[in-house]
Amino acid sequence: MAVNIIVCVKQVIDPEAPPSSFKVDEAAKKVVPPSGVPPVINPFDENAVEAALRIKDAQGGKITVLSLGINLLREVVKKPLSMGADALILLEDEAFAGGDSWSNAHALAMAIKKIGAYDLIFCGRQAADWDDGQVGSGIAEILGLPSVTVARKIEVADGKARVERVTAEGCEVIEVSLPALITVSNELGVARYPTIKGIMAAKKIEPIVWKPADIGLEPAQIGAVGRKVNLEKLYQPVHEGKCELIEGESPEEAGVNLALKLREAKLL
């Protein structure tokens, strides 16, 4: 029984870039992208693509990847295609810039309505820029769908999804009727690498680009204009603290000296 899945992905500043390269322009309330570090697909969204590919491997179906943003690098947003997804739709327009979870969820929901038929929508649990974790649930609420968040495993049978949801103690197993929206967490497992075959196939797929008018968005609902929450301030916390490095003639001696130092500091 083929399962058609829409996966929402977001292009973000690489969260693995060293913290020392991170800079904020406080006046503009924006992050200065680190030079020489290309953006990436949000890591949790890669887990979402992986979740979709596992279902496609098992049961067949079409995976449509959807991404909203500006200055979307084709080599970045096409990665899910190289992993094995079938189609790519981009909501790319200057007007989409500066949105919050409201305006972004709204745009993505309208695009999903235009895509039409689907059994499942997958999102990463949160994006590595704003760390908000609301857009997935927001899309589900706008579309009137049931949602299950932070999934580590998803299986589909008989018009239902069986989802293992991460909890503080381990997990809970939830059954949800389709269509549904599920957000995916890293506990699902490492996302597969693109294959050569996948990269070649992805080269041939042209992304479809939709503008706000294509998906019936009113200007007042889009991007920065459509925000419901105000960003008052963006800043880097001041870093105090100095690390006392403990040395030794050998690593072993340093280890011994560390223990002695901690005893002296009354920490042991």
């Binding site: 500043i13 969260p15 060293p18 913290p19 979870s101 409201w102 949160q126 590595a128 820029d129 704003w130 760390d131 908000d132 609301q134 997935g136 649930s137 589900a140 609420e141 949602s147 299950v148 968040t149 932070v150 580590r152 293992e164 991460v166 503080a168 381990g170 809970e172 197993v173 939830i174 009727s177 549904a180 890293n186 506990e187 490492v190 419901k228 929450v229 105000n230 960003l231 008052e232 301030k233 963006l234 800043y235 880097q236 603290g241 690390c243 006392e244 490095l245 403990i246 030794g248 050998s250 690593p251 340093a254 280890g255 011994v256 560390l258 223990a259 002695l260 130092k261 901690l262 042991l268």
Partner: protein
């Protein structure tokens, strides 16, 4: 149109008591309520939870709303969202505080969209703007590399609060207040999910969140076998082991040991970070600890910017010697 007024806290419970996060939210809520000169209420949702009202009053609530229903023992989105919606529409709080927990992360966004208002997630500071009287919500962003402050004109102003970020009041059993029952009024057919099973990942020894000492390992540990050395040290210190994300993703340790932005938040007296780079996402889980000790062979590793003491060296050589010395010092 009636105005929105007062602070409300969603008070989670577990095993017949208020959860620690509930007491923390009440402590924070009390401060905000006193600042605004408004009332603090708690809403407790579940099955068989009516007895918890007294505890909520003791921890600072002026009023407690109880929604006790046979359909509510386990959290489910389609059950809790309409219940909280009903309570909010009846009580009309200006501010609603929810824990950044397994429940809160699911409940708050869906509820915010249902109420056509906004939520700010994972707040570490909350304050009232002296001019506008609106809630200033401060949260870490970009994995913790930056902080953002948000406000919104919409009501209720919803914020989820990071665990251990706020301080509870000393409970005062003599505090009195009103307890109000609200009927859940749920249609079972409207709940589109079923909880089939709950699974607890077995972890031996002391729980991470209770431990006063934590020994944590990162990608550099390299294997499940490597973590046994950390377990040995943790055992000596009567502490717990934890990990950053890569060891969990690689299956070297159970996922429940993940410390970080989307994992556990811990505030032990001593945090020993072994072969762990100290990414911002990981530090979000342990930066409350004043005594971080780092062992890492990379002198540029971010952990050395966060630690109080450190050794630059190969953990495979440093740690065994460290552990032996600790054993000797403890025995003497």
């Amino acid at each position: 149109m009636a105005e929105y007024r007062g602070i409300m806290v969603h008070a989670e419970s577990a095993e017949g008591k208020l959860a620690a996060i509930a007491t923390e939210l009440l402590g924070c809520g009390r401060r905000l309520a006193d600042d605004l000169g408004e009332e603090l209420s708690a809403v407790i949702v579940g099955c068989g939870i009516s007895g918890l009202a007294r505890e909520a009053l003791a921890f600072g609530a002026d009023k407690v709303y109880i929604v006790d229903d046979a359909l509510l023992p386990d959290y489910q989105t389609d059950a809790y969202v309409p219940v909280l919606e009903k309570v909010v529409r009846q009580v009309r709080p200006s501010i609603l505080l929810i824990g950044q927990t397994s429940i809160g992360r699911d409940l708050a966004p869906r509820l915010a969209f249902r109420l056509e208002t906004t939520a700010t997630m994972d707040c570490i500071e909350l304050a009232i703007d002296p001019g506008s009287k609106r809630l200033l919500r401060t949260k870490p962003v970009y994995g913790g590399n930056a902080r953002a402050v948000f406000t919104s004109e919409l009501n209720p102003q919803i914020a989820t609060v990071r665990t251990k970020a706020m301080t509870p009041l000393e409970p005062d059993k003599s505090r009195k207040g009103e307890v109000v029952t609200i009927e859940a009024g749920l249609d079972p057919a409207a709940v589109r999910t079923r909880v089939l099973e709950k699974v607890q990942q077995e972890v031996e020894g002391i729980s991470l969140e209770a431990a006063e000492m934590v020994v944590s390992g990162g990608r550099g540990i390299g294997s499940a076998e490597g973590f046994k050395q950390l377990e040995e040290l943790a055992g000596l210190l009567k502490g717990a082991i934890g990990a950053s994300r890569p060891p969990c993703d690689n299956g070297w340790v159970p996922d429940v040991l993940q410390i970080g932005l989307t994992g556990k938040i811990v505030v032990p007296d001593l945090y020993i970070a072994v072969a762990l780079s100290g990414s911002s996402q990981h530090m979000a889980g342990c930066s409350g600890c004043k005594n971080i000790v780092a062992i890492n062979k990379d002198p540029e590793a971010n952990i050395f910017r966060e630690a109080r003491f450190g050794v630059v060296g190969d953990w495979k050589k440093v740690l065994p010697a460290f552990t032996e010395k600790v054993r000797e010092l403890r025995a003497g």
